[in-house]
């Protein structure tokens, strides 16, 4: 174990801003990519669902 206390862990031997600046930005960017992709997938699935519903309704109307 390297760290005696939480303060020592956060301080990173005086290099805290550099070490945590790296790790926090990396984690935020990866999380943002995952969330952004989830949104992209939802958008296209929803849009395709709408398109399918519209084309079905049209087919229905022309039948009737």
């Amino acid at each position: 174990m390297n760290w005696g206390s939480l303060e020592a862990f956060v301080a990173m031997g005086g290099y805290g801003p550099y070490v945590w600046g790296t790790y926090i930005v990396t984690i935020l960017l990866l999380a943002a990519e995952v969330l952004w992709l989830r949104g992209r997938r939802r958008t296209i699935v929803r849009r395709l669902g709408l398109m399918r519903d519209i084309s079905r309704r049209r087919a229905h109307e022309t039948q009737a």
């Binding site: 862990f9 790296t22 296209i44």
Partner: protein
Amino acid sequence: MSQRLVNWFKYSSPATFYGLAGKLVPWFAASSVVLFAIGLYIGFFMAPTDFQQGEAYRIIFIHVPAAWMSMFLYLLMAGYAALGLIFNTRLSGMMAQAIAPTGALFTFIALWSGALWGRPTWGTYWVWDARLTSELILLFLYVGFIALQASIEDPRRADKAGAVLAIVGAINVPIIYFSVQWWNTLHQGASVSLTRAPSMASVMLAGMLIMVFACWFYSIAVVLVRVRAIMLERERSSAWVAEQLADAHA
């Protein structure tokens, strides 16, 4: 021989690949989370303090994997782009397009972590040395590829134009890799090489390699999710997409 050819082309068809990719994503995502947890634990709690750099060296567990991924992903993207130009397969262009944003992300992380590591060890966030400059050019190549594809309406033409850019830009990857040997750079030489023993403690090396695998699995999962979205966007009027959606809503 013909059997193998048939199988190859079966999986290069978007309809088949879409389902296969969907099954693989959860496995790669879960492996990535587990490996990140192990890698970070080793990096912060098992790897000892560096006798020269103190705790600042712990940036290595992000910096080196991100820098490697930025180069691996570029070569993979250029490889798919070349396949698309040669065989004119639809999937290749979609894969190249799906890899680019993740490659750009890792390139940015490599530059960002490098700047934050450079400040305490070199006394500066940035210098125009060969390694840093060529890595910055890599970021511009990714951004250029994405912007070029986004500016062309027809996806097949966008794939072709992007492919040429990606293939020509691939020359930059060996330049990044060998820059520390070819020029007198402030950036240090390779820490890990196939020809000699690594110049770091084995615990540090283990943590770093686990982080590399975590980044690989993360990239594979994210690229597969993105390529599935691209497939739906591009092939929305085809029969297989309608079938996929019918299954999903059933």
